[in-house]
Symmetry: C2
Subunit: 663 residues, 2 copies
């Protein structure tokens, strides 16, 4: 049995007993402490810095008799991330082990914060034909005259006579409700029927309203849309951070977590099931307050996610999709009883898991596919779903191909020095004065645009859409050139060389922030963004080449990030091959739209299965020209494009960098 | 919060804390003490007598500081059952409440004992076509070349190519095994398939053997037959007392228990599920020792029971089958996932619940029906399944009717003064010398026949088959007449008048017993047996009348009791209308045979569903001649029968009672 030590986290005040040898990060996860872990314990992101507190503990400390022991000295790897300006006692939580009682301070910069989830539901235009419907039946009360007929058989007879429904059967848990419901409703009852064949609920008397939930589990955020299946309307929307984030910020980190922790898969599966149950509880709170299980009002659930989230949610080992030849456990759609997954909706209801396309292209992309329906269009449309991964769909009614781009988490704020998720305090919009190089920016949680002259505005970092903004603005202001290299000596203290001898641009001075440090955009940040946008661009370009498409008719930007991206900035940076700005359309959370469509129209489920097999997955990383295309695509914007429109536009704006985009 | 008191049961030594106001019977049930409760707490059977112990407790008593409090005085109802000869301190456990610490002694006569279960499996002749089969597939290992195909899809392709199986799908829990099994078996795996459509198990490499369990849940006994589905052989048999017995000895007692206790249904369901899991654990112990869940080796399970046991097992409210118009929740067969019921076999396996016929005629009778197949015979066959209830099937290929007779529990030893189940110490065979009226009897657990002259032989009571024996013998010896009335003054001390002024026959003197009391057959016992046999006889007679059948071609005696009944005694007493003795056939546990057949041959499942609907339930209690027929049927034997064969037989045996059966 390992020794246990007392660990207290401040300022949250969480405390508990932790086994010797566990890392502080593991302790934080065990105690529910809000601590960034972007790289998933791989000791490379340096985001999980904490301060080991020295000195005496307060007398009112709930844990008495703590004997403070300073942990072993930091390793070489750890020291790489720790700077003198971090101050004394700073350690990486993922590397520092517990070998005695500890008091740990989590600096604000290391706190994950509550994400502002921006995945609102838009109106869908779709024929209402849900998989689940309610049918009201009126039975003749039994008598000694017809005593040889059971309740089950009476109901089936009534369903056939009144609605022509044949060969029905009861789910076992629904059968348990049958006797009392029939008698409580005086032999009138409402049967909830799945796919015209299985009875999944019996309620006494007549019931009209029928609820379904469409769920989109992103790597970073989860959202549930509660729909009234009798009208198709969205009644309520609830969202939350994906509770798996503490186990790794991106897909590969979580796969690694599952591989390297004995119960890693189970831990992450439990986290997402628990999280989804929270969404369920909140989303029905307004419509159903009574009873111990208000979530049981939900009779159907559709769900989309990427392949790794899909596997982890289902308890399938994600390791095989993380290594060659990247084989998923299953591709087709699945219908799984909610009770088998521990989801607290009607236990007889099915969870309809949309199909996945391939090891890298998941059910979320199938959701995008059936929502955007490129296969019903003549124009060549490129749909870019930018979540933590970039997924592309390109084509028209003749052929649609898909691919996945390893954009890295830069668009979500990771690998960016001051990157953060779209949480309060995050800078979300940036404009730079082309002459003075002075920025204006907007912070989430504040209504107005701010500059440094307004004093303390508690900026904390930069979110994904602002990274596009600021780097596009830096390019237009001439702070970086088309290769992404900083242009020095511009006569402003905003552009400077940092302690490591690398150039950086100061977006917010320390006094404007809540982290007591200048928020800067570094050469490394620019490179990370270039890699991400280069991956998208190169992916699209190679798809076009392989499919023989020379020109895009339209670009559709989907996803939480895609919905907030500045179209002009995306064209400035060259996130995708050139297209007139009016042909760039922001479509919102198309993956979630697909989940809703599958909830509201059963034909969409078949369409999803058929089209998931029909769409062709293109493996672009193995293309012999990949490396060259990728290198070129990293330029701002891509060198070989005809960007007349962009150039003209920028010149019209008097952008001082017009000359730098000639080559 | 109620007070709790210490209660100790002797001689078992069980002890625990019991809430104030609970009865001693409830305390015994909570502490697992072996105590008879034949009437299910209705305070009428008087079988649960216990002695409240007076005096000091031993010092080594595990519960220290007991303060003994004498319970409140017995009620009028209770006093009816307590005789002076019972000695001091005797109470009915069902009526005496706990209001202080108690030490309770359970006399041997009140102990239920472990039943000797006599339900062996016979050889069946049936074509082997089980619902569950194993298929071995060999897959091509995946490569980057075919990376867009998931494990699931590969397996389905292989099953179709190798075996022509189409449109298969995986059970969710089986899917969870898929990835690792395929890789552990180097892409060779064995799929267990249910009904050629659902994959319920994946095992690495080739596996041939496949196990199924046929289960017969009787009111009193449960038995499981483990079968190898690849050969049809019974591998092992395990049986046990129905663990619901403490909640009521017969069907109506348990329905009452469910009605009058808030968690009564759940308690009894849990008891039978736990009991069946014990059978599962034991029955596979020899074939499967490894792993935490050896029962998971079982991939299919069929089950039969009467309608009340069926409902309780499934968690359906049995109340509606206990009151007019006696409507069951469901009649058809059900396939329910084992995990939904908490049965510890393969969690993906289905429990196939055979159909029931009506509120009174259960799946056990359907088991008898498909085992005996009257519907394939020209002769008119009467099948009597005598368990705790009597169920009758009569007919031939043109028509078969069923009915249920309220025989009462007399055949099982209840309502009989010294009646008991077929447990060690029970008298199971009796012969009476027609001249001297001296008996010889055989006791379960002893090899030889005994008489009183052999001294202490520890007889404890009389089991069901012996009650038939002894009363038939008493009739033949002239101790009772054809009306069941005792003939006094026969010159033997064996026939006497007891303390209540009622005649009785002494079968065993106190010194031959382990209960220190004469074991007697009372006038009341004879009446109870007459009621039981009268119900059977009258049921059969009314069925014959309603069906226009004048003469039976054959009588088949089924059930644990039916298998041990003496054919001659049954004819002597007139349990069923007259038929030559060579046409009385003992067929053993036909209900269990039916369950096995449904396990081994899937066509039998359909046959069961079809025939359960085809067979006609006859409600005999509403027949206008019922009362008259029933009264007549209580005579020994029935007055209006032509019992020439019987008479001739008895005369040939020199029976001195030949004259008494003339009327």
């Amino acid at each position: 049995m390992a020794n246990k030590y007392k660990v207290i986290f401040q300022p949250a005040g969480r405390r508990g007993e932790i086994e010797e040898g566990k890392t502080i990060l593991e302790a934080a996860q065990a105690l529910g402490v809000d601590l960034e872990a972007l790289c998933g314990n791989k000791k490379v992101c340096g985001k999980c810095k904490v301060r080991i507190e020295e000195g005496e503990f307060e007398k009112d400390n709930m844990i008495s008799g703590m004997s403070h022991i300073t942990p072993a000295a930091p390793s070489e790897d750890e020291l790489k991330h720790i700077k003198p300006e971090d101050g004394p006692g700073i350690r990486l939580a993922c590397s520092c082990e517990v070998h005695g009682d500890l008091k740990v301070f989590v600096p604000e910069r290391s706190r994950a914060g509550k994400q502002v989830v921006r995945k609102a539901a838009k109106e869908l235009s779709i024929a209402l034909d849900p998989a689940v419907r309610k049918y009201i039946v009126k039975l003749t009360p039994p008598s000694l005259h017809d005593m040889t007929t059971g309740d089950y058989e009476r109901v089936l007879k009534a369903l056939e006579e009144a609605y022509g429904l044949k060969d029905m059967f009861f789910d076992y848990t629904a059968l348990l409700e049958l006797q009392d419901a029939l008698r409580a409703g005086d032999w009138m009852a409402t049967l909830t029927v799945w796919m015209d064949k299985e009875i999944i609920k019996v309620e006494p008397g007549p019931v009209e309203v029928c609820y379904g939930l469409a769920v989109d589990i992103g790597t970073t955020t989860c959202v549930g849309y509660l729909c009234d299946l009798s009208t198709g309307k969205v009644i309520n929307t609830e969202s939350m951070m994906n509770p798996q984030v503490p186990y790794g910020e991106d897909v590969m980190s979580r796969i690694t977590y599952a591989m390297t922790n004995p119960d890693g898969l189970k831990t992450m599966q439990d986290a997402i099931i628990t999280g989804l149950n929270e969404i369920i509880e909140k989303v029905v709170a307004e419509v159903k307050k009574d009873g111990p299980n208000p979530g049981f009002a939900i009779d159907d659930l559709t769900i989309v996610f990427n392949t790794a989230m899909h596997h982890i949610f289902l308890g399938l080992n994600p390791v095989y999709i993380g290594r060659s030849p990247f084989i998923p456990a299953v591709q087709r759609s699945l219908d799984i009883k909610s009770r088998d997954l521990g989801l607290k909706i009607n236990p007889a209801a099915y969870i309809h898991v949309l199909p996945i396309e391939a090891g890298f292209v998941g059910a979320d992309n199938v959701g995008v596919l059936i929502a955007q329906e490129q296969y019903n269009q003549d124009e060549n449309v490129l749909v870019i779903d930018i979540g933590t991964n970039g997924e592309l769909l390109l084509g028209n009614r003749d052929k649609v191909c898909s691919t996945s781009c390893a954009t890295g988490p830069a668009f979500e704020g990771a690998q960016i020095k001051f990157g953060m998720r779209a949480a309060p305090g995050a800078i979300e919009k940036v404009k730079i004065d082309y002459e003075t190089k002075e920025p204006r920016y907007k912070v989430i949680g504040k209504a107005d645009w701010h500059t440094h002259v307004e004093g303390k505005i508690n900026a904390k970092g930069i979110c994904g859409s602002a990274i596009i903004d600021v780097i596009a603005e830096m390019f237009k202001a001439g702070i970086i050139d088309k290769t992404g290299k900083f242009v020095m000596n511009l006569g402003t203290s905003r552009v400077r060389t940092n302690a490591e001898g690398k150039p950086e641009y100061v977006l917010a001075w320390a006094e404007e922030t809540s982290i007591n440090a200048d928020i800067t955009v570094t050469q490394g940040d620019v490179r990370a963004l270039q890699l991400a946008k280069g991956a998208l661009y190169c992916g699209a370009k190679l798809m076009m080449k392989k499919m023989g498409i020379e020109k895009l008719d339209r670009v559709e930007l989907a996803g939480a990030f895609g919905s907030h991206i500045d179209r002009e900035a995306s064209l400035t940076l060259g996130l995708f091959p050139d297209v007139p700005i009016e042909k760039v359309v922001v479509v919102g959370n198309a993956a979630g739209d697909g989940a809703r469509m599958a909830l509201l129209n059963r034909a969409k489920r078949k369409e999803a299965d058929d089209r998931a097999r029909w769409v062709e997955f293109l493996e672009i990383a193995t293309d012999p020209t990949f490396e060259k295309e990728f290198m070129q695509a990293m330029h701002i914007p891509h060198m070989k494009d005809k960007y007349t429109n962009l150039k003209a536009m920028l010149e019209a704006q008097g952008a001082p960098v017009a000359s730098s985009i000639k080559g």
